[in-house]
């Protein structure tokens, strides 16, 4: 018994591990998070897939075996007890009952027993009478089903576990162990996966996924196992006509569905169906679910802007999501990998910046209402594209660009986010737009400021304008022009950091604060001058001062941006892909049956109380009424009192016959 309780607790603790450590992630993620030492340790212990690890299955097996033994040992006893009325009880044993009462009656023993039989029958008791030498014994019982509760609950545990094991990957594990099947870890087209990593369509049970772009079809799914996969063949071919998302008026998704055509391989018959979340479909014993969606290879068209140098020359670039393109930037070879495209993005703009919803509180919220709560200002900010730029050494940075202008604090920007590892959140750069929503003005300004040959002219014109109309300051002009030029040069080399570095090195401590202010003003003034020179007349920019400030910020941030190009998404042709999950789980019928037994069993155990009543009517007119229950709770005391009153009353009512 102690063993059973310990097992329950060990199982509970073992289960916890699997919830704390994210399960079945790709191995590189673990390696990144834990380092090689712990990674090897955890992998050996099976912690990346606890619930399928050997030790976990062994604990489960122990549980099943010990419960089975328990059932085998106790069931016969329980069944016997259920049937028995205990009519062999002796008068002296009844006298030791805690709940008993003695009465005197003028009725003959057989009359007393008959009366009691009738009274107790009204309360659901079944009884047996036994004639003894000194009187008659009525043995009654009620609620014997209680005992069945034990058998039901415990059998349920065994049944559920067996059902679960059938649907688990035990047969596959065995095949793998014997070398009949091998996990494929290479990234290759499905058709080239060797047969040792393929499972036939008659496989008893499986659970896997497949992503199918619109207009394509598939007749296999992929089972994720450890750090690789297996290919499961299907008895049918699924073609995807269209993936559908519908939205509520509030912008949250209301419906995800796929229009499919499924063709049976054997009969060749096909049927069209619509698959929705929460409404799976069964085909040849395989259940098909709408599980996820993604991009199925949208066509994207970009304009590539340089982010350094004096040129604003753009080049066009075409890409397809999930494909990559080679590209040369400043003479270096790179590859652009287009990862994802999204047509809609509902984002919270209340914080002023788009951010990934990963904070503590938002996680709580997302559980029950993945949508927003009222603090947030949700808006559909339009299409976005996610891509990586990889250099010749294989190092990559990841980018997230929004196609449409996003208005923050009254000004519009193009947002582009960058991160250098997949776990980090994006750092955004805001490229300011002119009032026509065009990024060209910013690009012109940037190129002008980035042009060393133009700096001298800008600086002197800035100085001239800044001091114009201030008569006694004209002598300062060359000095101001020189400051302007060197500030610009510093900024061109390293942004605000370079300026700060210069100040902390060359300016006495107590003047640094002032110098910083002055330099910033000069920089902004110079940039404003540059802006005026470079934008075509008539380009509307209402608030030039803040446009200049935003431009300088954007230029400053671009030092950390990576390869100095900005990909402006210009147009797209979306192609969606639907993610289907398919399962075959014959064990579920056992599991459901076991669950039913479990509920009935628990009900029987707690809410059917076994009670036994004995009435011994002696020939001398004495009647002993005794009562017992398998569980003597407070209720039972009350029940005894109630029944004993009823019995007393019944005898009183039948005094004279």
């Amino acid at each position: 018994m102690r063993f059973a309780i310990s097992l329950l607790l060990v199982l509970a603790i073992a289960s916890i591990i699997g919830t704390v450590l994210k399960q079945n992630e790709p191995y590189p993620n673990y390696l990144f998070e834990f380092g090689t030492y712990w990674f090897d340790m955890f992998r050996t212990l099976g912690l990346f897939d606890v619930y399928h690890s050997l030790w976990f299955l062994v604990i489960l097996l122990f549980l099943v075996i010990s419960t089975s033994f328990c059932i085998i040992r106790l069931s016969p006893i329980m069944l016997k007890e259920m049937k028995s009325y205990r009519e062999r009880s002796t008068l002296s044993s009844l006298r030791h009952f805690r709940f008993r009462q003695e009465l005197v009656t003028s009725l003959a023993p057989e009359q007393s027993v008959r009366l009691m039989d009738k009274v107790l029958a009204g309360y659901g008791y079944k009884s047996r009478t036994q004639i003894r030498k000194t009187g008659q014994l009525l043995a009654a019982k009620r609620g014997s089903w209680n005992r069945l509760g034990y058998i039901l609950t415990h059998s349920a545990i065994v049944i559920i576990c067996i059902g679960g094991l059938i649907d688990g990957n035990i047969p596959l594990k065995v095949d793998q162990f014997l070398g009949y099947k091998r996990i494929e870890t290479r990234d290759m087209p499905e058709s080239q996966v060797p047969s040792v990593s393929r499972l036939g369509s008659n496989n008893l049970s499986f659970r896997g996924d497949v992503t199918i772009p619109e207009g394509s079809s598939a007749d296999v799914i992929f089972l994720n196992v450890a750090n690789g996969y297996l290919v499961q063949e299907l008895p049918f071919i699924v073609s995807v006509k269209k993936f559908i998302v519908k939205y509520y008026s509030t912008g949250q998704p209301r419906l995800f569905a796929s229009d499919l055509v499924i063709q049976d391989k054997k009969t060749g018959k096909s049927k069209s169906v619509r698959l929705e979340v929460n409404h799976p479909l069964t085909m040849d014993g395989v259940d098909i679910y709408q599980a996820s969606f993604g991009d199925g290879g949208s066509h994207l068209h970009f304009l590539v802007w340089p982010l350094t140098g004096a040129s604003t020359l753009t080049t066009p670039l075409d890409g397809i999501v999930k494909h990559h393109e080679p590209m040369t930037i400043n003479g270096h070879p790179y590859a652009i990998e287009f990862d994802d495209f999204r047509k809609f993005n509902v984002e919270d703009l209340s914080q002023g910046v788009v951010k990934a919803p990963s904070s503590f509180m938002q996680n709580i919220l997302s559980v029950f209402s993945p949508a927003a709560h009222k603090d947030q200002e949700l808006r559909n900010v339009g299409p976005s594209v996610q891509f990586k730029i990889r250099n010749a050494q294989g190092e990559a940075r990841e980018y997230l660009n929004y196609m449409l202008p996003i208005t923050l604090g009254g000004h519009s920007y193009f947002l582009t986010g960058m991160r250098d590892n997949p776990g980090a959140s994006y750092q955004y750069i805001r490229l300011p737009l002119d009032d026509n929503g065009n990024v060209n003005s910013f690009m012109q300004l940037r190129a002008h400021l980035d042009d060393p040959s133009a700096a001298n002219g800008i600086a002197s014109r800035f100085a001239k304008k800044a001091l114009a109309g201030i008569p006694n300051m004209q002598a300062m002009k060359p000095k101001l022009a020189q400051i302007s030029e060197s500030v610009l040069a510093l900024f061109r080399q390293g942004g605000y950091n370079a300026l700060a570095g210069f100040i902390s090195k060359d300016v006495p401590q107590n003047e640094q604060e002032n110098a910083a202010q002055t330099y910033l003003k000069v920089l902004q003034g110079t940039a404003l001058e540059a802006l005026n020179e470079v934008i075509p007349p008539g380009t509307p920019i209402k608030d030039k001062a803040s446009f200049v400030r935003d431009s300088l910020n954007a230029m400053n941030d671009s030092f950390l941006y990576g390869p100095p190009v900005y990909l402006q998404l210009q147009s797209f042709k979306p192609v969606m892909a639907t993610g289907l999950q398919m399962t075959r789980a014959p064990g579920k019928y056992l599991v459901y049956f076991g669950s039913l037994c479990l509920v009935l069993g628990i009900f029987a155990m707690f809410y059917i109380r076994e009670r036994r009543v004995f009435v011994y009517a002696s020939s001398d007119g004495k009647v002993l009424f005794a009562m017992s229950s398998s569980r003597q709770t407070l209720d039972f005391e009350l029940e005894f009192k109630k029944l004993s009153n009823i019995i007393s009353k019944a005898f009183a009512d039948n005094k004279e016959l």
Partner: protein, 379 residues
């Protein structure tokens, strides 16, 4: 010779006219709903409606005060719905709605009444005042009624927002905290009634007051009280039965843990002469865990059935699922200790307090610290 003894089955013998009237009202209400709204309900919704009606009839027969609560709740809710005149804005304009019965107002009243009841239960406990106890009990009943009215009108209001938006208000954390509060209170009121003891209230209402604290913070700081449409994964009739069953479990487990606290205090001699008998505390603790365990089992199984429909497998070892299993195993162990080994006393009291920690983690902690399918991150 004729033995005189009335021999009708026990249940029917105890039913009075009021019970039959109560049942009739439920049945009529149910039929009316089917007639008027049946067209918009699928067969599962109809099944759930009928089964729930029968269940509530049985509950009212079994525990009489429940009948009165149902009637008052129904009258107030119908009146509130009438006052809405089919417009959400009425909540701000109609006096009754603005100050008493509007969905949000009623929930605020519930919160206030629960907190007040908690205080007065403590007054009753410390001052050994029977009168204060009775008063606190009435307040608790009122709070339950207001909570129910708030939820029912909220349900109605969600349909005013748009026919495709309308849904039962048990779909987010805000709503289930209300569910938790009045469910726990109802269980408590039942035991209070059966054991004729007001002293337990001081402890049980503490956990409800804590839930209310969270609810208020959630309302005023996070403005989480808005009605949001359902994401596709939640659009299922399973939600209607899975979630309430879970909260019967959570409520009962919390109740037993609070009684565990009372038990330990009493056995250490603290408040000893004010608290009820240890035997009684122990008994209620057991009963509460027993009913909680039954419903939690059902809820977990319903969850598995739902998962089989929504996620493609009845068991995915998703953190929420796994923690439900952990909670379940914990109480299975508790019950083995008591039923098989016959353990009583402080060990079980401590264990049920520990059980509340585990339950709270399963309820809240998983959402906060772990991620999984339950966050519907996938779609």
């Amino acid at each position: 010779m004729e033995l005189v003894h009335e021999s009708k089955p026990a249940l029917l013998r105890e039913l009075r006219l009021g019970d039959w009237g109560y049942a009739l009202v439920w049945l009529l209400g149910c039929l009316y709903t089917l007639d008027k709204f049946g067209a918009g309900m699928n067969v599962y919704s109809k099944g759930i409606l009928c089964a729930a009606s029968l269940g509530f009839i049985a509950l009212g027969w079994f525990w009489k005060p429940f009948r009165l609560m149902c009637v008052i709740t129904a009258v107030l809710s119908l009146f509130a719905i009438y006052e809405y005149h089919g417009q959400i804005a009425s909540a701000e304009q109609e006096l009754w709605l603005k100050y008493l019965l509007g969905s949000q107002t009623a929930i605020m009243w519930m919160s206030f009444l629960f907190v007040l009841a908690t205080l007065i239960y403590w007054v009753a406990l410390l001052g050994r005042s029977e009168f204060a106890g009775k008063f606190a009990s009435v307040l608790t009943w009122c709070a339950v009624v207001m909570g129910l009215v708030g939820m029912l009108t909220r349900w109605y209001v969600s349909y005013l927002m748009g026919p495709d938006i309308g849904h039962i208000p048990i779909s987010n954390l805000y709503e289930v905290f209300i569910l938790f509060s009045f469910m726990t209170a109802l269980f408590y009121l039942y035991y209070e009634d059966r054991y004729e003891s007001y002293q337990m209230g001081a402890f049980v209402l503490l956990v409800i007051a804590a839930a209310i604290g969270f609810l208020l913070w959630y309302t005023f700081d996070r403005h989480a009280n808005g009605i949001e449409p359902l994401v596709p994964a939640l659009q299922s009739y399973w939600m209607k039965i899975h979630v309430p069953a879970n909260f019967v479990g959570y409520g009962s487990f919390s109740l037993s843990a609070m009684l565990g606290v009372a038990y330990l205090l009493k056995s250490k001699g603290i408040l000893a002469d004010r608290l009820p008998d240890l035997v009684m505390l122990d008994d209620v603790m057991y009963k509460s865990i027993a009913i909680g365990f039954l419903f939690f089992t059902i809820a977990t199984i319903l969850g598995a059935l739902w998962a089989a429909q929504a996620w493609g497998g009845y068991w995915s070892w998703d953190p929420k699922e796994t923690w439900a299993l952990i909670v379940w195993l914990n109480y299975a162990a508790w019950l083995h200790m008591r039923l098989v080994k016959g353990v009583r006393g402080p060990i079980l009291a401590w264990w049920s307090i520990g059980g509340l920690m585990v339950t709270t983690f399963a309820f809240l902690g998983v959402n906060m610290f772990l991620s999984g399918l339950h966050s519907y991150g996938k779609l």
